[in-house]
């Protein structure tokens, strides 16, 4: 939040992604999972932009569309002013040094047969011309930065606990001095006491290195702690984007309201009225017509079943994709 400039670092414009499933008799895909639908948002430099939503809402797919682990079917992605979604792989590759990723599973995302210092130095091997000695020095320095000891570099990933491995993953992401770090559920596999350590580390690093985070999570309390701006996704659509205080203080979309009311608060005095949503998430191969949320929305009307709502601006950087943004559940 410290130095928000006017130009967004990352700008996602009307991005959609469909995955083919099922094949017709002639082998052509006839069914699609609509994973991400017409998603647009801006991430300003130095801020933490979070995407929250339940499993299958498309938050991870969105992050992968940005760093081109998968390519979008439609839409554009601008990074640092440059359109990147259609760049040839060769031209895109150097840009990856500027956007690094931290993954969810600290067990699966580190190569078990590599020494920790080699894991951390690997991005340097790919993106820089540093010598082996310089890379090693940088790796040891980074171990210190993330709160491990430089001597840990000689060890292998299995010798570390979950929280320590996540620190290694963060050190690897930092090695090439990225501008943007995409963190996909970085703390959800960790115990609460360890989760707090890692969240604090992410905070400190952001202040020290002027990082921008795109933070993907399903945990609304974690997101509230770390974010400046939050986007809520449902069935591949962004239903609401708002600055942190605004979203948690005045949630406008019925889904955001239901989601917030469902989070258990660790305080027995807080007896919340839950908005219990009926039924389950519809299948993403067959997204309901009209508003995607109308099948479970307590406020749904005839209009919601037929007409797809457009984003309404209800405040500074606060948009709601609902026909009735003024109503509450």
């Amino acid at each position: 939040m410290s130095n928000v400039k006017s130009e967004p670092l990352l700008s996602v414009r009307h991005v959609s992604k469909r995955f083919p499933v099922g094949k017709s008799f002639f082998g052509r895909a006839n069914k699609f999972v609509h994973a991400v639908n017409d998603v647009s948002f801006d991430v300003m430099p130095g801020e933490t932009f979070s995407i929250v939503g339940e499993s299958g809402c498309g938050k991870s797919t969105t992050s992968r569309l940005i760093n081109r682990l998968i390519d979008p079917n439609e839409g554009e992605v601008y990074f640092d002013g440059q359109e990147i979604s259609k760049l040839p792989a060769k031209e895109f590759r150097p840009l990856r040094a500027k956007m690094q990723m931290v993954f969810q599973d600290p067990y699966g995302s580190l190569n078990p047969r590599m020494k920790v210092q080699d894991i951390i130095a690997e991005p340097l091997l790919v993106h820089t011309n540093l010598s082996a000695g310089e890379r090693l020095k940088r790796a040891q320095e980074l171990l210190g930065v993330v709160g491990l000891s430089p001597t840990h570099g000689e060890r292998y990933p299995h010798e570390f606990s979950g929280g320590q491995r996540q620190r290694i993953g963060i050190a690897r992401a930092l090695s090439v001095n990225p501008k943007l770090i995409i963190a996909d559920e970085p703390v959800s596999a960790l115990d609460v006491s360890i989760q707090a350590q890692v969240l604090n580390l992410l905070r400190d690093l952001q202040e020290e290195y002027d990082l921008t985070y795109l933070f993907i999570s399903h945990d609304l309390a974690v997101v509230e702690m770390i974010s400046d701006v939050v986007a809520v996704m449902y069935l591949g659509h962004i239903v609401e984007i708002a600055p942190n205080e605004e979203l948690y203080g005045h949630p406008s979309h019925p889904y955001t309201q239901a989601l917030l009311s469902a989070v258990p608060v660790p305080d027995p005095d807080v007896k919340k009225e839950h908005i219990l949503l009926q039924g389950d998430l519809p299948s993403p191969t067959n997204i309901p017509a009209g508003c995607p949320f109308h099948t479970r929305c307590p406020l749904a009307t005839e209009k919601c079943k037929t007409e797809t709502p457009k984003p309404h601006t209800v405040g500074e950087r606060h948009t709601v994709t609902c026909h009735y943004p003024e109503k509450t559940v």
């Binding site: 006491s193 969240l199 609304l220 974690v222 258990p264």
Partner: protein, 332 residues
């Protein structure tokens, strides 16, 4: 006071490692569950909460596990029962639901057959009656089209629906005690809210006692009436839910509660507990929390504190009271 359904006394569970080596996963654990209450068993991964529940159900393999202490369930000493007697206890007196509803159900058996299997094993109802009971059970857990669902396979249902089926199956023989091991951890928050509401409804309507194993303090605050906190195989604190959240006494409980990010209370930095949980094979001497405890003294590293009563229904295992600890810290 309500009837005591489960009493665990001084439970110690050890696992075999290698030829002669035994690792102690849980030691000296004692607690009770009464009818009509939901007791939370909380702790981080590896603290022994699941090992405790599986010991109560006697689901550990006999060849590799050593269990000592006493477990009294419905008036019977579980550890003395024959396998056959235990079999009939499961389902009738106590049943269990698991964390991963998708993998706890048999993927190649229809829901109806799985439910019927549980019911026929424990009752002598006719085929028709079993079917009726199955439909009624599914209805009672809020499955909209029970007749249809009986014909489905698990993969055709969502996670929330599978967990409802698991609960229906567990409740089908009307056990007095339900053990729920992280029942909502694999589910999304909106679905979690539905399942928690269902468990509360079961408790209210049938006076079932529920032992809820979880790592989520939010869930505990939401539906439990009493809480047991475990750390590294020991119970460190036990108290009614209000008391535990308002006046936590053990430094671990205090740290744990403080480190949970809380909706509506935005902080810049979260208080965290330094270090990580000790390895089971290399437990520290003395208090097991001492290496991570900011109050730890010389004595803490030498003496393993016992669980002592500090108020009517509040027990805690720390050598020092909260006041003494604060004074020591101020003194240093």
């Amino acid at each position: 006071m309500a009837e005591t359904l489960l009493e665990v006394k001084d439970l110690t569970t050890q696992f075999k490692r290698g030829k002669k080596d035994w690792i102690t996963a849980v030691s000296g654990v004692s607690f009770q569950v009464r009818a009509g209450e939901i007791v939370g068993l909380v702790g981080e991964s590896g603290c022994g909460k699941s090992v405790t529940s599986l010991s109560v159900m006697r689901l550990h393999s006999k060849d590799t596990t050593r269990i000592s202490g006493d477990i009294v369930l419905g008036g019977k000493h579980v550890l003395d029962l024959s396998d056959k007697e235990m079999q009939s206890m499961r389902g009738n007196d106590v049943s269990m639901i698991f964390q991963e509803p998708m993998s706890a159900l048999d993927p190649i058996m229809r829901i109806g057959d799985q439910l019927a299997e549980a019911i026929t094993l424990h009752t002598d109802l006719s085929k028709d009656e079993v079917h009726k009971r199955s439909v009624a059970m599914l209805k009672s857990v809020g499955i909209p089209e029970p007749e249809m669902t009986l014909k489905n396979y698990p993969h055709e249902l969502s996670g929330g629906m599978c967990q409802r089926v698991m609960i229906a199956m567990a409740m089908s023989c009307e056990p007095k005690l339900l053990i729920a091991d992280e029942p909502t951890t694999a589910l999304d928050v909106t679905i979690q809210a539905q399942i928690l509401a269902l468990m509360e409804q079961i408790r209210r309507e049938r006076n079932t006692g529920i032992l809820l194993i979880t790592h989520d303090l939010g869930v505990v605050a939401e539906i439990c009436s009493r809480v047991i906190v475990m750390y590294a195989g020991h119970v460190v604190e036990e108290a009614p839910v209000d008391e535990l959240f308002k006046h936590p006494q053990h430094p671990y409980t205090q740290g744990l509660i403080a480190s949970v990010p809380r909706l509506g209370r935005r902080v810049h930095r979260l208080p965290s507990i330094p270090g990580s949980v000790p390895d089971l094979a290399a437990m520290p001497d003395g208090c097991r929390f001492a290496p991570r405890c900011k109050y730890a003294q010389e004595e803490c590293r030498a003496t393993d504190p016992a669980l002592v009563k500090i108020a009517d229904d509040h027990t805690c295992s720390c050598l020092f009271s909260e006041k003494e600890r604060e004074e020591m810290l101020a003194h240093e």
